[in-house]
Structures are given as structure tokens and as C-alpha cells.
């Protein structure tokens, strides 16, 4: 049943068995698994059936870290949450999100990656991944390359699998969530969907061991409370942390924050475009159909990408990384910089300074010194002149178009306690502190991304497939790095309360009836898009509630 929260009597206290806060990917998945189970469920959603501007402003916040999307546009508040923004084209006018489970290595504690390691290995989550694939309608299940390529039409590149492997990404449509599951949740007799109800506070007992109720407010001034036996926080990676930090009446620093961990370890997947791959065979486009664009195999839209093997990740101590090669037809003149890169040297800089002064009609300040610099670095000066001349000549003479590949990279962000969601000084209309984000990443990711590209470049060269130009420099961040709207890690999972906010069942440490669902519990992120892992983890949580509470 769907109810507008604004119609509920002021200060009314609603009773239920399970209260789910947030109706996004995790909240909807959990609610759907609870349909017709022996429990009453209240599903609280801050927005309406569709995202609206009034609710969206509640997500407004500031970011003082690496440049990021405006926070109020990064996550729709409305029934379906982030599934509303699954807009990757899958062909035939379907849109969805990339889906892939995390790799086994992502669950391991890796010495080279601080704070890495999940409380369980991938085999624990594997059965839930299978169910998640079914839930996201991307079956037949499995991501083995053998099952998802056609040796004749979509063969993988012949690379050494011990070094570089082809990985399969599936694409799950948003339709099941926004149409089928949304309708089924609204129709379910044991579920009450309360819209336009923003949770502003989670109230606990004095010793904070148990949650007693949550306070919900509406934008029209209405407010009510929900008391439940179990509470599940499913508002996404930023709002989960914010709500725990805001609930500070009983625990000064926020619920579950006794060790100052809530909001820390904010992670995103680093997305960036960099470099170029020029194939030896000009007709390689026809042979890389597996990688070129989303295509349908066995009724599932899929795409192949290049990743480093686990063996290589361990050997070179790298964070996880994947590369998409995108075909591009481009004029020869537009890629001349790759063949004749500009040189920065002392002699060239002096020559430029000398020339610029003369062009302005002035004698350089220290002409002798500049001329000496030019003479001392004559080799670089001549080389630059040669390259520039070549570029100019070819730009005018060559009219041909080249078949090349641009590279789209996705890299794991390593956990970093300084990358943090905090409470800002500004307050929203409910008088609650707005988000203050400090997205930070460390040199490990950049080093890893550069080395991963170099390894793939070596492999492509060795096998004679082509030449990959790596344009990233280790010490510099590529321009620009952006996220994928994946907010992870802010209520990380660890069985030790000093190292994690929730345990392996997603129960907040020290609180007996508050669970967290969604990507905020991920201790590490891998490179895979988080939606499939969110759904798998939520199904696992649902099974836990069934096992321990009989729901």
C-alpha cells in the first residue's frame, strides 16, 4: 500500500515489525524479498513516486575534496532511488546499469592496500550473487568468458590470460525495479510505502543498545514516528552516514560512531579517459565486437572489457582495474600528438622565451643565458622542431581517417579514512546539518592505473595486436577523474567494532536492531559497478532476518 506521509496525523506513532528507511536499490530489494512474509513492513521514502525538486534540495551539500558531481543531482530522492538514473544504453531503447560481481581478490586482505578485506570471502556471497542476477533479470547466471562469447562473431582478443584477461559486464535494465517491483511492493498487503517522509532522527535507548523509533518529517511541516522491532537503513552511501551522524541525542558523535568510523572511507570508482590504442590491423574493429559496444547474447546485454589477472595484481601489488576500449574513427591529424609528443625541456623553454620576447619587440632579459641553454640542449630543440614540422606537414597532407580505440578506465579506490562524509554547518529545512564531503584519493590508485595500462600495453604489443599509448604520468592525476555516482564505504563492514561500523550481517556494532543495507557497508570497492553486490548483500540480509527473527 502506498501512503503519502503528509496525510498522516501530526505526531502519530506508527507500529510495525520492520522499518526500512530509503526505497532505492537496496530498500526496494529488501522490501520485495519481504513480500508475503510473516511481518509488517513500513518503507519510508523521502521523495515521491518520481524525484521532485523540493525533496532533491535535501541532498544539497558541499564538497571540499576532489571535484565531484553536485550532491543534490548525484542521487535522485524518489521511489526507486538510484535506479531512476540507470541510463546506460543497452540497445533497442532500453537503459540500465552495468552489473558484475566483485572479484575474489576484492574480498581478500591485501598487504599493499591498507584497510582491505571483507569479513568473508567471495564464496559466501556467490549463492546470493546468483539470486541477485535472477532478481536483476540478467540470467543465465555466471560471468565466465566461455559462456558469453561467440568464437566466430565475438572472439576475445588473444592475450595471455595470466596477464590480461577479458571480463564480462552484463547490463541490467531499470524496468524490473521501476515497473515490476515497484508495483508489486505497492500491491503487497504486508508493506506500507510512506512517501514524502524524510527520516531526520533515529532514537535509541539511553545506552544506545536498541533503537526505539525513527522520526520522520514532511516538507509541509508534518511529522510522525515509526516504532519497529528492526530498522534497516538503506539511504545510500552518503545519506546512511549522515543519518547516523545526525542521530546524536543518545550518543554524542552519532549512532555506531563510538570509534569515529561513520562517514570515513568514502569511496568512488575512479573513471577517466586517457590514452589511445592504435591497432596494427586496420580491420580490427570487426574482430573486437565483444568490446566495441553493448550487444545481446542469450537475451542478456553484455560487454567485454580488459582487466589484469589476479596473478598480475598480486605480483605487481596493484589495486583492481578495468579498461574499456571504444572504437573511434578519427582524422589522422587529430592523433599526431601521440606520434610526436611535445617535449618539455630546458632548451625548448628557453627558445620559447627568447622567441616570445622578440615577438613582443623586446630583447630578452638574459639573452646570453637563454642562448647558452638552447645550445646546451640542442638535441631537444632540434627534435622538437622536427616533430613540429612533421605535425604541420602531415596535418595539411593527410586526409585519411584512422580506426583507433579510445580508452575508458575504471579503477578501484583504495579505502582512505581521510575521504569522508561529515556534517556541514549549513542546515536543511528540517534544521539538520547538510552534507560536507571530502572526497580524497591516494597516489596508490594513480600509480596502479598507470602500471595497469603499461602492462596491458606491453601485452598488446607483445601479441602484435597494436600499440597502446599511455598518456598518464605517475606523479600527476589525469584530467579529469570523475566518479560513477557510486557512493561506498561510509559504514564499512568489519567484525571488529574498532575497524568497522557494521558486522558481517550488516548489524550496527553495539545496537541490537539497526541494520545497514547498500554500498555504504562495502569495505573495498573493486572495479565492478556496485548494483549487483548491493542486491546480493541485501538478499543476504533478508535471509539473515528470516533465519534469526523468523520474518
Amino acid at each position: 500500500m502506498e501512503v503519502d506521509g503528509r496525510t498522516i496525523a501530526h505526531d502519530k506513532n506508527l507500529q510495525t515489525d520492520i522499518c526500512i528507511i530509503g526505497a532505492g536499490t537496496a530498500g526496494m530489494t529488501l522490501a520485495h524479498t519481504l513480500i508475503n512474509r510473516k511481518c509488517k513492513v513500513i518503507l519510508l521514502e523521502s521523495g515521491g513516486l518520481k524525484p521532485d525538486k523540493e525533496s532533491q534540495i535535501l541532498s544539497f551539500g558541499e564538497n571540499i575534496g576532489h571535484q565531484y558531481f553536485p550532491l543534490d543531482t548525484a542521487r535522485p530522492r524518489g521511489f526507486g532511488g538510484s535506479t531512476n538514473r540507470w541510463f546506460l544504453a543497452m540497445g533497442e531503447n532500453h537503459f540500465g546499469a552495468r552489473m558484475r560481481p566483485l572479484d575474489s581478490i576484492d574480498f581478500e586482505k591485501r598487504d599493499e592496500i591498507p584497510y582491505s578485506g571483507w569479513p568473508f570471502d567471495k564464496t559466501v556471497l556467490d549463492p546470493y550473487y546468483k539470486r541477485a542476477e535472477d532478481f536483476c533479470k540478467i540470467t543465465p547466471s555466471g560471468f565466465q568468458l566461455e559462456d558469453w562469447h561467440d568464437p566466430k562473431k565475438t572472439p576475445p582478443l588473444a592475450l595471455d590470460q595470466k596477464t590480461v584477461e577479458t571480463v564480462i559486464f552484463k547490463f541490467g535494465s531499470r524496468e524490473p525495479f521501476l515497473k515490476d517491483y515497484a508495483k508489486e511492493i505497492i500491491k503487497a498487503k504486508n508493506i506500507k510505502l510512506l512517501l514524502h517522509a524524510t527520516v531526520t532522527d533515529i532514537e535509541a535507548t539511553e545506552n544506545t543498545q536498541k533503537i526505539t523509533r525513527v522520526h520522520a518529517s514532511c516538507l509541509d511541516g508534518g511529522r510522525f514516528q515509526v516504532s519497529a522491532k528492526i530498522y534497516v537503513l538503506a539511504c545510500g552511501g552518503i545519506e546512511n552516514a549522515r543519518l547516523l551522524l545526525l542521530s546524536n541525542k543518545q550518543q554524542k558523535d552519532g549512532l555506531g560512531n563510538q570509534y569515529d568510523l561513520v562517514g570515513r572511507f568514502f569511496m568512488e570508482h575512479l573513471h577517466f579517459h586517457s590514452g589511445l590504442f592504435i591497432p596494427t590491423d586496420p580491420f580490427l574493429f570487426q574482430k573486437t565486437a565483444l568490446y566495441n559496444a553493448v550487444h545481446w547474447i542469450k537475451g542478456v546485454p553484455i560487454l567485454g572489457k580488459l582487466a589484469l589477472s589476479e596473478h598480475m595484481l598480486r605480483k605487481r601489488k596493484l589495486s583492481n582495474y578495468v579498461m574499456q576500449i571504444k572504437p573511434l574513427i578519427t582524422p589522422y591529424s587529430s592523433i599526431l600528438n601521440y606520434f610526436y609528443p611535445a617535449m618539455e625541456s630546458h632548451g625548448v623553454a628557453s627558445l620559447k622565451a627568447f622567441r616570445n620576447s622578440l615577438l613582443r619587440g623586446k630583447v630578452p632579459a638574459e639573452p646570453g643565458k637563454l642562448l647558452l641553454d638552447i645550445r646546451a640542449d640542442a638535441k631537444s630543440v632540434f627534435l622538437t622542431g622536427y616533430r613540429n614540422l612533421n605535425k604541420k606537414v602531415l596535418r595539411h597532407l593527410s586526409k585519411k581517417n584512422l580506426h583507433v580505440y579510445t580508452l575508458h578506465h575504471m579503477s578501484e579506490q583504495t579505502p582512505n579514512p581521510e575521504s569522508q562524509v561529515m556534517l556541514g554547518l549549513q542546515k536543511d529545512v528540517f534544521g539538520k546539518n547538510r552534507i560536507f564531503l571530502n572526497w580524497r584519493f591516494s597516489p596508490i590508485e594513480i600509480r596502479s592505473a598507470v602500471q595497469s595500462q603499461e602492462i596491458i600495453a606491453d601485452e598488446l604489443k607483445k601479441t602484435g595486436i597494436g600499440q597502446l599509448f599511455v598518456t598518464m604520468i605517475d606523479a600527476l592525476k589525469p584530467h579529469p577523474i570523475y566518479g560513477g555516482w557510486h557512493h561506498m564505504g561510509t559504514t564499512r563492514m568489519n567484525d571488529n567494532p574498532k575497524q568497522g561500523v557494521v558486522d558481517q550481517n550488516c548489524l550496527v556494532h553495539g545496537v541490537s536492531n539497526l541494520y545497514v543495507a547498500g554500498p555504504s557497508v562495502f569495505p573495498t570497492s573493486g572495479y565492478a559497478n556496485p548494483c549487483l553486490t548491493i542486491v546480493a548483500m541485501t538478499i543476504k540480509l533478508s535471509e539473515h532476518l528470516k533465519k534469526y527473527f523468523g520474518y
Binding site: K50, D52, K53, P70, D72, T73, G91, A289, L328, I329
Partner: protein, 216 residues
């Protein structure tokens, strides 16, 4: 005769960029080019924050300045008012880019090719290399409208015949339809709301209408 137009409700737009991302993908727009763009503004007064998002595409002006300056007549206007480019005629001179006051046009410096049709055994239709060096812009997903009309669908009402940005706007801020039909949804929206059009004073007579957010 239909006359196609668009309404963008600024009271509803949440700046999510879904329309832009979807447009880029379905029209194979290179990363450097954009057929739709988002202008955003923040007004802060203490804790009070107001956000304002305007998405812009080709305004499909009734008096398009781009049409007048095109030396090869590559830019043309359909009877239904859609301003489009015949890519075989375009020489990429850029005169229309300069003439458009809405920055709705750009020259394709490079292009991508989509290959998945080849896997399914059918012909590769999206070979975009012939579009390198010429001007491209929003055409209200003209092919969808034409195919829809042939199949008896009503653009603006039937999703299959409606421009993709309108069809997939998650906050339902965009509407499309025939403004010559007084019973169409868009005509009703236009008659019931205060409407503004961008740079109307230039006499371009754009058919993309905006419902302003009065709170800003």
C-alpha cells in the same frame, strides 16, 4: 499539419542530466560535442538554498538564423518545424555555429562507430565516420517521430514516437507534442502556465518553451 514543440518545466527539473546522457548515447554524440547542455545556478541565503537547472537543446526556431547563413542549404526546416541538417550537403564551414544564439550546434571533430548490429547479423547502420567534420545538433529525434507517425503513433503521447530526452526524463519536467492541436498535452500546458522563451527578443521565435521557477 503538426507543429512540434517542447516544454521544459523548470519547477520540476532536478538537474540529474539523464536527458543529456541518454541523448549522447542514442545519437552517438562524441564526448566533445553536446546536443543538450545543462546550466545550473545556486542561490544561497544563509541556510536557505535554491537550485536552478536549465537544460538547453536546439530551439528549432521558426525563424532560424542558422538556416539563413548556410551556404550549401544543408540546414533545412521541415513542414512540422524541425530544423535539421542534411549531412551529405554540410561542408562543416561553421557559419551556422556562429549564427546560432543558443550554442546548440557544433562541428563533429571526431566520431564513434557502434558495432553491435553487426553481431546480430544485420547491417551496420551507425557508421558515423561520414559525420566527421560536419555540423550536427538535436533534431527532436526526427526518425522516431517519423517512424511513429507511420505506425499510427502520436508523438508526445506514445513514448515510442517521442524524443528520447522527453521519454526518459525522470522528474517528468519535459513535454513534447503538437502545439497546433489544442487538445494536445503540450498545448494545455502552454495555456495553463506562465511561459518564457530564451532570447525571444532576437525574433528567432523558438519552439522550446520554459515554465520558470517563480521561487528563484
Amino acid at each position: 499539419m503538426a507543429r512540434w514543440a517542447m516544454v521544459i518545466d523548470l519547477r520540476k527539473c532536478i538537474g540529474c542530466s539523464s536527458c543529456i546522457e541518454i541523448c549522447k548515447q542514442v545519437n552517438n554524440v562524441p564526448p566533445e560535442n553536446e546536443w543538450r547542455r545543462l546550466v545550473e545556478h545556486t542561490a544561497k541565503e544563509g541556510d536557505n538554498v535554491k537550485r536552478w537547472f536549465v537544460t538547453m537543446n536546439c530551439m528549432h526556431c521558426v525563424n532560424p538564423p542558422c538556416l539563413k547563413v548556410c551556404p550549401t542549404k544543408a540546414t533545412y526546416q521541415t513542414k512540422e518545424g524541425i530544423v535539421d541538417i542534411d549531412h551529405k550537403q554540410c561542408i562543416g564551414c561553421g557559419a551556422c555555429v556562429l549564427a546560432c544564439p543558443y550554442k546548440a550546434r557544433s562541428i563533429n571533430r571526431r566520431s564513434r562507430m557502434s558495432c553491435y548490429e553487426r553481431i546480430d547479423g544485420s547491417k551496420v547502420e551507425v557508421e558515423m565516420h561520414e559525420h566527421i567534420g560536419i555540423c550536427r545538433k538535436c533534431n527532436f529525434c526526427k526518425s522516431l517521430i517519423e517512424t511513429g507517425l507511420k505506425n499510427g503513433l502520436q508523438p508526445g503521447k506514445d513514448p515510442e514516437a517521442t524524443p528520447m530526452c522527453v521519454r526518459y526524463c525522470i522528474s517528468e519536467a519535459l513535454a513534447f507534442g503538437n502545439i497546433d492541436d489544442p487538445n494536445s498535452k503540450i498545448s494545455q500546458i502552454l495555456s495553463q502556465n506562465k511561459i518564457v522563451r530564451i532570447l525571444e527578443e532576437l525574433g528567432t521565435n523558438p519552439v522550446v518553451h520554459y515554465i520558470p521557477d517563480d521561487e528563484i
